[in-house]
Amino acid sequence: MSLKIFIAVILGVGTGYFFLPTEFSNNIGLIIDIGLMVLLFFVGIDIGKQKDILDKIKKLGFKVLLVPLAVIVGSVVGSMIIGLFLNMKINEAGAIGAGLGWYSLSSTILLSDGYVELSALAFLSNVFREIIALIFIPVVAKYIGKLESVSTAGATAMDTALPVISSSTDPQTSIIAFITGVICSTAVPIIVPIILKLPV
């Protein structure tokens, strides 16, 4: 699966670079939206079929929320620490990590705040996060742990990474992944501006 994902991305980059005019990017948003809707619809069916899982989740209770919380704190702390070594301002580095893999949103928030280069950095870094997550979810799930594999995805655990998580783990982890993705996605527009405003 990881190899297929890697090939799909590389083929896309090649196609975009060599064959498509820049104007094509005007239509990409709609294509992604439609593709994502179809994908999410079928992922939804998959989750809905696991009827007894909902009861299990009720049993898990609020402690499940520790997963998205750990993902958010881990992402921000991780990017802040490496930011120090890269001679970046700690708040700007933290804001990149706070994108949680949602590259389009985090980069747009930063751009609207006037951070042009930081926006590009956030875009790429969060694209990479998504690619890293998609490639390594099966590996992390196998050798480290299922919940840890969810953590790699961040906000994308609810959409693009969800099919990979569900095929690499179990239905219960998939639901935790979705909960994690929803909470992370909700958190991105809140925490990126907050972390950016941190006094340093």
């Binding site: 079929k49 898990l60 990149i96 590009a120 609810m158 099919p163």
Partner: protein, 99 residues
Amino acid sequence: MVTSLLKYLGILILGGIIGFKGKLSPKLEGKLNTIQTVCLLFLLFIMGITIGINDEIISNIFSIGLKAGIISVFTVGFSILFVHLVKKFIPMEEKEIES
């Protein structure tokens, strides 16, 4: 972005309800995984295109990309670490699920 979140959540819940009520034909049900994989690979192909089509990103890909790559590795690494630390507080009932 709130609307897109609601939209995604809505379509997921819609699929969830259909799946929950078991209103799918067995034929389609057997193909769910294949459909998901095809959609995912298509989306990733499109994502690749958005990178490849943007000359600014491609020409600066090595300088910005290296920095971005290092940051993303640490972001993912610390996410794994922090989830690993809180993991013991989360009751996973794997055996019960599998039975």
